[in-house]
Symmetry: C2
Subunit: 200 residues, 2 copies
Amino acid sequence: MYANYCNYAYSLTTSHWYGLTMNAASPKRGRPAVVSVGEIVEAAVELIDRDGVDALTMRSLAASIGIGPMTLYRHLADKDTLLAMLPDALLASVCDEVLRKRSGLLALRTIATGLMNVLQTHPGIATLFEDPEQGPNMKAAASHVINLLIGEGMRSSEAEVALRAVVAQVIGENVTRHGKPQFAGVVLLLDGIRLRLEAN
Amino acid sequence: MYANYCNYAYSLTTSHWYGLTMNAASPKRGRPAVVSVGEIVEAAVELIDRDGVDALTMRSLAASIGIGPMTLYRHLADKDTLLAMLPDALLASVCDEVLRKRSGLLALRTIATGLMNVLQTHPGIATLFEDPEQGPNMKAAASHVINLLIGEGMRSSEAEVALRAVVAQVIGENVTRHGKPQFAGVVLLLDGIRLRLEAN
DNA sequence: ACCTGAACACCGTTCAAGT
DNA sequence: ACCTGAACACCGTTCAAGT
């Protein structure tokens, strides 16, 4: 249906480029594509940062790249699948940092501060986590954290709850805006998680 | 500008009707209004429950009430101010229940379960808490909880953090949907808050 | 093989007119 | 005093046509 729908180049850092071609039997035939999905994602983030998330329009996005609006649909099924790709792309460097941690609580704290930072440097982006694509960066970081917590004595279901709670805490703090988001809620939550770890 | 912009009848329960008339010097003159803001809010919730939050359109909302779309603008500044009113209306009965609690932790738990329940019976509504109007119901419940926590030894800034953290946890859990939202994160958070209370 | 203009079926909202 | 039809400036997306 969409020939290179899965031909996505992921993160904004140079460390995680995933170039998957759907049909490997016919590479580089015909006219080369004028944009990649990675470039579209990058342009989308730039546009959001400059003009806000409401200004991200298929038309405005295409214009910022210098292509016709309809060309976007050669690479993307629709606008929602584009929006779903942004979280994993934005979290690439945070996920890298998480992978280097050797303590579960430290990894959780790294996720919290990193996510908080991302949500604040890209205002209005918190609601994009409504239905995020669990991309390669997020998947790797998540399983790393969960393995650390299991290694420290948690059951795997408990570990999943803890990770999920930390992410929910930060997103919730950033979705509603009564003044600046606070980190204090995360601290309370981490106290509760530490309590659970020490009980084992 | 908008004569009865502040003429809002709030909650969906009959227990909290706030009928404020802006200009009390000229009551009941001319043709009576065909709808109240309270009825509009109620119709909006019904429409969201039936067809989802994306189906809430100024045109569809007006049609469901049986008035012209433009009549809505006699009572509402715009769509965003309508959306901002929904949280307080939906939380009316939860706030009532919170006011009856005599323990800070119990009140926090009541908020968590009540909010979780509301967000699940009205799917897709979590993001409406992005910029909610702090209506009468929410204000009353919030100050009650904070007073309870202060009475139990917390500083007022700590109490605000605790309340805010609980709300953020539930909203965050419901904004992103990896399967059904869990209550376990709230439990961890409440553990952290209990720890803080016992330290005093 | 890849791109895109014209067109469709929608939005929220303004404004001048109706009763 | 209250309501509203027509109209404006947008959307996301389809589809048939261009190169």
